[in-house]
Structure formats: C-alpha cells, structure tokens
C-alpha cells in the first residue's frame, strides 16, 4: 500500500489553496477613501448615476467627489449603519430618513452637528426654513435634506382622455372620476401595501385630507388613534374599498408604467420620486401627469405629504471635515440641478426644478395653492411604532371592511401607548 504520487499532488493542491487564500484582496472601499473622494452609504443602488452627476459640481466647490455604496435591503441597511457608525468602518456620509428616524440615531450621539451648514443654507435662501425642525434633535440639525418629494396622484393621460376625465379639483370630482373608471373596467386607483410600507400612503392621506392638524398631533403622540377624526378618516378609506375604487392590495407597482401606457390603470398615489422609474421604463410627458389630491373635508386646510431624505455625517467618519463641507455644499444650485436632473424629482432647494413637465406642473400647483407640508408617516413617529402600525395597516388593506376599522385602530393605539412610553423613557 505504498503511497506515491497522490500525496505530493495533494500537497501541491494544498499549497496552491493557501497561496490563493493569502492573496485574497481586501475590499477597495472600506478603508479611508483615496484623496478627493468621500464615501456615501445608501440603500438604493440605482441612484449611483445621480451621485456621479452631483459629484461634478461638488468637486468644483469642495474638491471632493462622492463614492456611493449601496445596501440593497432597507432593514439590513439600517442595521449596518447602526453597527458601523459606532466603529471606524463607517462611510463618510450616510443617507437616512428625517423626523423620528433621524432622532433615533442622533440621540445616540453618532452624528455630527450640522448647524453651520443649515445656517449658511438658510442665509443663502437655498432651503425652506420650515424643513429644519424635521431634521433636528434637541434643537440642533443633524442632516441636510437629500431630496424633497411630494405625495401626489400620478394619472394615465390615455385613460383620462379615453373616458373624458380631467384632473379633479375637488374631492367630489375625484370620487366621480374614480367611479367612472371603475364602471368602465379600468382600475381607478392602484394601491399596494399588502406586505410592505406602502400601506401608510393612503392612511396618511385620508388623515391629512380630513384634518391635518389632527394628523400632526396624532403622530406626535398627543392625539389617539381611537379619536373620532381617525375613525372617520379610516372609515372613508374603507368605503372607498367597498365602492371598488382600489386595486388589489398586492398590486405590483413596477407594472404601473405599462398599465399607464395602455390605460388599464387610471391613477396611483405615490411619491414624486417615482418619475425616475417611469421615465426609465419609457413613459413620456404625454403618457402621465400629476395632480395634488384634493382634501376630503372642504373645511380642512389644504395639505400634502412630504418625504425628505437625509444626508448625515457620522462622527466616526474617516474624512469628517471633507464630509461636512460636502454636506454644506449639497444644497447649492449647481449640485441640486445635477442631482434632480437625474432624480427627476423636486429639490429641497426651492429654486431648482428638473426639466420634467409633470414635475414642473406640480411645482406650479404647489406654489399656487401653498399646501401645508406634513411629514410622511414613516418618519413622523418613533420607528418601532411606525413599523408595527405598518403591519396593522397592511392587514387592514387585505381586509378593508368598515367593521375592521375600529379593531385596527384599537390595536394601533395600544401599540402607541407602549411605544411612546419606551421612546420617552
């Protein structure tokens, strides 16, 4: 049983394996970035061209370019940022959310104070001062607005033309239009949310359409989900379902461009950042338009939901000074023009509007009617409360009967009681 050639061969293989192992490279993007570059962590890989476009004016102004990194999953992204921001594996900049989500990490002391950048931006008139509050914790701002999106109704011009409908200006007109579509076999309002966060879109909308002040109090923990206003608003939502005005709750939003084009779906309520997806899918200005949803109660002040992402600087960033100067330069006209040129969305800088007719249209409507701007529900309350309530709302959307309204709201209030106590402790 002499052992001959096989052993040496195996040793060679083993040696090759070890050599391979030691030659394994280190990641190119976790060490301190090369000179002239700051790293940015975000949860959206498809925005890389936007960051690249914005890097050109940024480099001109600050001498730094952006090198974006993406974590494709939202929950994983949040965990990675929470874990890495406490170590030196963090990137120089991070994309986050505003409101309570920002407060959640700002209160842990891992973000750098951006008061200077905000003061400068306000002085130069580059940002709406009312936004500052939603980016602050304990009176100090910790992030710059990355973008600013409105939640408005996208509609299919083909469907509207075919059935003789024009963008409604009152709630009654809106319901009449939706009913027309429903009778004609077209899906009036496409609304997803059976298994994800989109269930909050219509929930927030019925609330601000009934009483925006109540919505603000509710999300600040000063009103209850079981109050009559909330019950009334949610019952309205349930009645819209009974009138068959909505799509099935597991609707796939990536199919909307094609549905708009062939007129099988009439409207959908969503953030204006969707224009990027629609344009990439081949929709043009003649295919879709945007209008602001009228309020449901005539006496209610006109309001709109606003979503504004946040650009923050972790304290442990390798190149903190560079990151701070980049954050300071983010809202300048040049950078915003390049950025929104890609994003095709409204900017936090009121002077910059991208060259998309639907967005320009919306911008005019907003300037015209001056709606009150409400923070999106996702950021308007403590994260644990929102995540739990998203599940409740998803379950409601699957079973949107009027009898389900009170039990759902009861459960949401129970959760609110617990979570507010935890948040404030």
């Amino acid at each position: 049983m002499a052992v001959t050639a096989t052993i040496p061969r195996r040793t060679v293989l083993a040696g090759a394996a070890i050599a391979g192992l030691t030659g394994c490279a280190r990641g190119t993007e976790t060490r301190a970035a090369p000179p002239g570059v700051v790293t940015l962590n975000n949860d959206n890989a498809t925005w890389a061209p936007g960051y690249a476009a914005a890097s050109i004016p940024l480099h001109r102004q600050t001498g730094y370019r952006l090198s974006p990194r993406a974590v494709p999953n939202v929950s994983a992204y949040q965990q990675i940022v929470r874990m890495s921001a406490q170590t030196d594996s963090t990137t120089d900049l991070i994309k986050w959310w505003n409101g309570y989500r920002l407060q959640d990490i700002a209160r842990a002391g891992i973000l750098a104070d951006l008061t200077e950048a905000w003061d400068e931006a306000q002085r130069a008139g580059r940002v709406d001062p009312t936004l500052r509050a939603s980016f602050s914790y304990n009176g100090k701002p910790y992030a710059m607005p990355l973008y600013k999106s409105y939640y408005a109704v996208f509609y299919s011009k083909k469907a509207f033309a075919k059935h003789g409908v024009t963008p409604p200006r009152t709630w009654a007109e809106f319901i009449k239009a939706a009913t027309t579509f429903s009778k004609a076999g077209v899906v009036p309002i496409a609304a997803a949310g059976a298994s994800d966060w989109e269930s909050i879109i219509w929930f927030a909308q019925v609330l601000i359409g009934t009483d925006p002040g109540f919505y603000q109090r509710l999300t600040a923990g000063k009103a209850r989900y079981t109050d009559p206003t909330a019950i009334q608003a949610m019952s309205l939502w349930a009645h819209m379902y009974s009138a068959k005005l909505f799509s099935a709750p597991d609707y796939d939003a990536t199919g909307t461009p094609a549905h708009f084009k062939d007129g099988s779906v009439a409207m959908t309520l969503g953030g204006t950042w969707n224009t990027n997806a629609y344009t990439t899918a081949g929709l043009t200005d003649s295919d879709y338009g945007i209008f602001l949803l009228p309020q449901m109660r005539l006496s209610a002040p006109f309001a709109v939901v606003v979503e504004s992402g946040a650009l923050a600087v972790p304290i442990n960033a390798h190149k903190r000074k560079a990151a701070l100067s980049v954050a300071g330069a983010w809202l300048t006209d040049d950078v915003q023009r390049a950025w929104t040129g890609f994003l095709k969305d409204t900017s936090a800088n009121p002077a910059v509007v991208p060259n998309v007719s639907a967005i320009r249209d919306l911008h005019v409507q907003v300037a015209d009617r001056q709606p009150r701007e409400m923070t999106r529900y996702w950021e308007a309350s403590p994260p644990a409360l929102v995540e739990g309530n998203v599940n409740e709302l998803s379950a409601f959307m699957v079973n949107p009967h009027p009898e389900n309204v009170r039990p759902t709201l009861n459960r949401m209030q129970e959760r609110a009681d617990t979570e507010w106590k935890t948040w404030n402790s």
Binding site: S75, Q78, G109, A194, A248, P383, M397
Partner: protein, 311 residues
C-alpha cells in the same frame, strides 16, 4: 442486511494474538493527538465563527439593547415574548412548516429518487426536480409572486377554466398563504432530497438487491424491506436537515409575504428577524433566537439520539 460491527467481524475471523493487540481501538498519546488534529479545522471554524457569536447572542438576550445603549433586564425579554399574542401564531406557523416540510419534500424526494433511479431517462426527469434548487432566491421569489398574486398566473388559469369563481387570496389569507408557501418551498427543496437519496441509493451494493429479488421480493416489498433499511443513514441526514431547516424557515416567507398580512404568516425565524432588524430591539430578537435554537436542538436531539450509530 446490517453491516457488521467490529466485534462481530473479529469474532468471525481468527487473528493471531500478537496482531490483535494492535487494534484500532488503542488510545494513546499519539492517537489522541491525531484525533485532535483531524477534528481541529472543523471545530475551530464552527466554534469561533458560529458558536462564539451565538454565545454573545445569548448574553444579549438578557439586556434591553437598541444597538447603542444596553441595560440589564434579566428574563424580561423572555416573559414579554411568551405574553405576546403574535408569539402563539408564530409557533403555530413554525409547526405547520415542520409538518409540511417533513411530509412533502422528504417523501416526494424519496419516491422520486427510487422511482427514477433505474430509468434510462431518469436524469432528465430529475433535472426538472433539481433545477429549482439551483435557482437563486430572487428568481424563485419573483416567479412565485408572479404565480400567486391577485393578478398572477394561478388566477389567470382559474379565470380561464372557471370564469365565475372568485379565487381566494393565495398570499393574503392565513392559513392559505402558509400552505402555498410550503408548496413553493417543496418545489424548491425536493431536488435536494432527491440528490441525497440518490447518494444513498448508490451506496447499496447491487448484490443485496439481486439477492432479495432472487428471494422473490418485488416492487413495494423490495422498497419497504430492503431498500429503505439500506437507506437509513442517508434518511437520517435528510430528515434531520429537514427538521432543522423547516424550523428555521425564513427566506421563502420573507420574500413572498414578509410574514404578512400583518404578522399572520410569521414563523419564529421571522419574528426574530423583525425584532432584531426592523425594530432594532436586539435583546428581544436575541431571546427569540435562543428560544428557537432550544426548540431546534431539542427536536434534533429527539430524532437523532436513536439514529446515531458511530461504531
């Protein structure tokens, strides 16, 4: 035909005493060192990279931890867990998954492996079974969402064949969604069982089969009395792994319903994920992880204890 143990072998062969002393069972310093070295790579890897972090997780389960600050709470996380109404549903779903995964992929895998083993076109048939296992999770998720959505392929078929019928919400009603996801998981997992059973079938000496056939055993008798006992070692693997995987099911549910609607189709693994990743309550998530691990270890122990035969 059972394999003989070493003692039986020795008793059938006469070995001179001198040589017999050099038996394999001698334990001395060199042998112990050799054993240690052979065990070292596996144990070191598992111990340092898997067990140590898990011990850290156990430690964490006694704290109220949000990723930034932590405070000792003792058994509070466990008590809250058990008191949570969603927990009961989570356990029920997990049990459903165990039963479904044991009944379907394992059984189907066995039958299909045995059935296609001697067919000339067996490898083609098996390919369609194994293909799903080789596909990535994202492709699987997309296609099953395609099939089970309200405007998906399954409802397409139903509308064509039976226009008046309103189909149920395949993914939006519990317990139907759990059943459908178990089917989707069966679609993916049967291939793995087939391969493992094929490996087991390969190990059966053909003489055994021939001898049994000469004795008159055919078809089902052959399967039950000869093939299955021979397949025992590999069956232990398949069942053991199925128990563990079904208790830990996560990917399929996360991709198809995210545990929804609400938390209705959550299993323990999803509850743990939700607490840890979505709500950033690391302590509570750790408690669920510990609970789940205890359950899985207990289940595996009960099954494997009788099956393990080292000598």
């Amino acid at each position: 035909m059972e394999l003989m143990t070493a003692t039986e072998f020795r008793s059938t062969v006469r070995i001179p005493a001198m040589i017999r002393r050099k038996s394999l069972r001698r334990r001395d310093g060199r042998t112990t060192l050799a054993v240690g070295l052979f065990l070292l790579p596996a144990v070191a890897l598992v111990g340092v990279l898997l067990i140590a972090p898990f011990l850290d997780t156990i430690y964490r389960s006694f704290y109220n931890d949000n990723g930034f600050t932590r405070s000792w709470v003792g058994l509070h996380n466990y008590r809250t867990l058990v008191a949570d109404p969603a927990f009961g549903r989570s356990v029920l779903n997990t049990l459903m998954w165990v039963v479904g995964t044991l009944a379907l992929p394992v059984l189907l895998g066995l039958l299909l492996a045995v059935g296609t083993y001697s067919l000339r076109w067996g490898s083609i048939a098996r390919f369609s079974l194994i293909l799903p296992y080789a596909l990535s999770g994202s492709a699987t998720a997309v296609v099953w969402t395609f099939v089970l959505r309200s405007d998906g392929a399954l409802n397409d078929i139903i509308h064509t064949l039976a226009p008046g019928v309103t189909p149920p919400g395949w993914l939006t009603e519990w317990p139907l969604n759990t059943v459908m996801m178990i089917l989707a998981s069966t679609w993916q997992g049967t291939g793995a069982a087939v391969i493992l059973f094929m490996v087991g079938l390969q190990a059966i000496p053909p003489e055994t089969i021939e001898a049994a056939q000469l004795d008159g055993a055919l078809g089902r008798k052959l399967l039950w009395y000869v093939t299955l006992p021979q397949l025992r070692p590999i069956t232990v693997v398949v069942v053991g792994i199925s128990i563990v995987n079904s208790l830990k099911t996560f990917d399929m549910i996360w991709l198809l319903t995210q545990g929804g609607p609400g938390t209705e189709s959550e299993t323990l693994a999803l509850t743990m994920y939700r607490e840890t990743f979505t709500l950033s309550r690391y302590g509570a998530g750790a408690a669920v992880a510990v609970f789940l691990t205890v359950v899985v270890v207990a289940a595996s122990w009960i099954y494997l204890r009788r099956q393990l035969r080292t000598r």
